[in-house]
Structures are given as C-alpha cells and as structure tokens.
Symmetry: C2
Subunit: 263 residues, 2 copies
Amino acid sequence: MRGGSVAAIMSGMNIDEERKALLHEYERLDDLQRSGLVIIQNPAGFRFSMDAVLLSEFATVRRRDKVIDLGTGTGVIPLLVWARRQPVEIVGIEILEEMADMASRSVKINDLSGKIRIVHGDLRDALDVFGAGSFDVALSNPPYIRVDQGTLSPEGHLSVAKHEVSCTLEDVVNVAARLVKPKGRVAMVHRTSRLVDLLAAMRGAHLEPKRLRLVQARAGTPPMMVLVEAAKDVKAGLEVMPTLMLYGEDGEYSKETKEIYFG
Amino acid sequence: MRGGSVAAIMSGMNIDEERKALLHEYERLDDLQRSGLVIIQNPAGFRFSMDAVLLSEFATVRRRDKVIDLGTGTGVIPLLVWARRQPVEIVGIEILEEMADMASRSVKINDLSGKIRIVHGDLRDALDVFGAGSFDVALSNPPYIRVDQGTLSPEGHLSVAKHEVSCTLEDVVNVAARLVKPKGRVAMVHRTSRLVDLLAAMRGAHLEPKRLRLVQARAGTPPMMVLVEAAKDVKAGLEVMPTLMLYGEDGEYSKETKEIYFG
C-alpha cells in the first residue's frame, strides 16, 4: 500500500501568501482531512500511505505522553497523532535531509512548531540524541523490504523509505525499545510477511506485543499489513483485534475506514 | 470454542450390532459428516471442538505423508485428516488412557485400523517411541490454558485436555519439531492470546512459521483462534491467509465454514 497516496487529498483550498512561501515550486499542499491540517508533499517523490494513517489511529497515545516517530518521512504521523491526541510533545526523526526539511515546513505551515519537532538524523543515533527512556511512546512505519529482496529504486529517497537501506527492522525495534520508559509503548505497522520477524524482534528487545490487528482490503483477500503495539517490560498476553476490512462488499471504503480517515 | 461440540452431529443412523458392541453405555456415536465416518464421544466428557475440524482442514497433508497428532483426544483429527487426504499412516498419541481407548475404538468402528494407530502415552516421550525425524507432518490442538491461569476443572480428563497440566505449549512445539523430518511441517491451532508464545516457540525450535490464519466468529468480532503451519529448517517468510469468518451477517455458517464442515 505504501507509495499509493490517500485518495482525494489534492487540495483546492485558498492558501495565503505566507504559507505559499514555505512550499517549493515542485511541491503541493494536501489536506489531511483532520482538524484543518495540511501536509507538504512532492508528487514525484515518496508520499505518505494509508499505512501511516492506520498506525496513527491504532497507536495508544495519551495527552501526557512524549512521543517519537522513527523515520517520519513527510511528518504525517506526528501531524495525525497531534490532531487526534494533542500529546505533550511529538518528535519525528528522519535520515533524509530533504524529507526532514519538508516535514519541518509542514509543521510550520500548521503552526505546530511548539508541539512537533522534526530532527534530521539517523534513527540509530536517536539514543545519543535523546537518551534512553525519554519517551512514553515510539512509533514507526519503517521500510518494509529487505535489501536482499526486491529491486532498489533508482531514486535514493524512495529506496531509503521503502527498503532497509538505512536501517533494518531489528534496528528500529531495538532503538524504539531503548527510547521508551518501562511500560512505555511501541507501535509499528509492517507487512504481514514480516510478522514473525517483527514479533520476535520485539520480544527479543523486551517489548511484549500486547495488541495486534491485521488489515485486509476486503473479506476473502489476504491481509497485507499488520499493526502491532508492544509494551516494555510487561508480562505476555496478546489481544488480537478484529481484522480491519478497508473496503466493503460494495467496493467503497468500509464504515471503519471512513471513521479512521475522516474521523 | 473448545468444549462446544460441532452442531448437528448427533447421530440417528442405524448401527449394526458389531459396532454397537464397541460403545460403552454412556457413550454415543456421532456422525463426522465426511466419508461416512463416525466418532465415539462421551456426552459428559471432553468432546472435540470446531478448532480440531479447522486444523484438519488447514494443515497441508499429502498422500505420501506419515502424520502424527500430538494429544489426539477423541481421535477426531486423525479421522478427519484421513477422510480428506488418505496419507500413508496417521498416529495419534494420547496421555489419558480412557481417551486413548475411546479413540482406538473409533478407529476400529470406522475400519481404519490399518491406517490410523492410536498410542496411549505422554507426547513428551514420543521421541523415544517413534524416533526423531520419523514423520512428515505433526499436528496438535493442544491444551490452551496455562496452569497459572483459569480454574482447573474438577474432572481430571477435562483439565488435561484444556489446561497445560500434562504438557506446555513449548513441550508440544519442541517434540513436534524433533518428530518431523527436515522441511517437515507442524500445524497447530491455539488461542490468539498465545500467538506470540506459539510463534516464538516455533522459531526457537527451528520451525519457521509459513502460513497463518486468524479465525473470527464474524466481521467486527475479535479473532479468538489462530491456525499456524511451520516448516522445519526453512527460510523465513510468512503467508497470512484471509481471516476466516465462521458466520455470515445472517448469523448462519459462512460459505467457507460449510465447505470445511461438509466438504
């Protein structure tokens, strides 16, 4: 699903001149359909996907929480989590300078600089930057494809976003585990083909998977994505949620998909 | 779902006198709705459940395979696997003497003594009895409840079937892993709350989970059961199948459930 942009977000809104000045000419401003938020995207580059939207809705985030998004890309997860929960602070870390810059401008354009902070850097260095146990919640919609599989995209930034060029699943899980406090939560979205790797990496890092949800296009089709929320240093016991069906039998978004998107 | 017996299996068939002689007076003969097979059950005791039927259908079994069912109970899994696949041989091992005896009589009453063998014994001793690598496929519908959880049934045989009194999940997985050949398959059904334990135990025993399916009562309800098939000493990569919905929106069995039950 990654790479496919959410339908109907091309904006036809009136943008004032100040905001326009934050956009590069090849970028566009898309409506996030939530609390009036907008996001800058490059139509020719990596755009956020349904998976990021699903993760933002799935993760447990409370108002007193400090949250980090590992590999934030366009910054869509911080923006959507802010719109839903208004936690104390959200940090997004992104290795690609161009993406981090774009995400920063999206934060500025929404007037959320006091709440969301975009940091340009390698998530594997996040412990040095922020310190262990400095967050209540870590989120990640990481690259899905192992480097030994699939064809690397000729454009570098698409490779980094889709392939494990700059970090592996285990890197993300291990960093997330150390960034959160005891009982802190780590929520991730990944392909179902990597489910065992994801659960094993979590348990190996003292993150116990507590909630899991499969995402299916429709009844009878194989689920391609899985959402998992783990907690640090807690006892075992998993709640599996009803499989999310994105589309109904009529081919339209299901009731639940509409609620996730349009609140 | 365990403990609930499959609907509409109470038999009204004509049983000849020879068959009747194999039943104790407190037992009844139920129709398995497949290839004319019947099964002896004790209405007051542990009866096979939907989970066993689902596992029999889910597991990959080929005609040339030697199959073992660990903790066979009534012997329902060997009978249903035989009805579907006619493999070379099926062994069922059962720790409770009374259950093993009943399962043996079910095999005899179906005239399958040359194909299905019921062995009374502890599955943890199965390696000594059969030797490592002696099967192509190991199946198990093990006790679901950890001994430190839930209330033990006052009736001993119900406790053994439902609680990990005589073996843990890890025992079953480790024995299964050693009983099958390299690339051999191990298929199990378990509660979704134990999914992480099951996958971790499998990987820890060099069984790589290859196929996984959640079972939901209906759309929007949490899946309670999970089916997993792993293979020994193969590379990682999981296929997650469409979530099985047991009932349709009309409250009747779904089309797929009917196919699983009635072929």
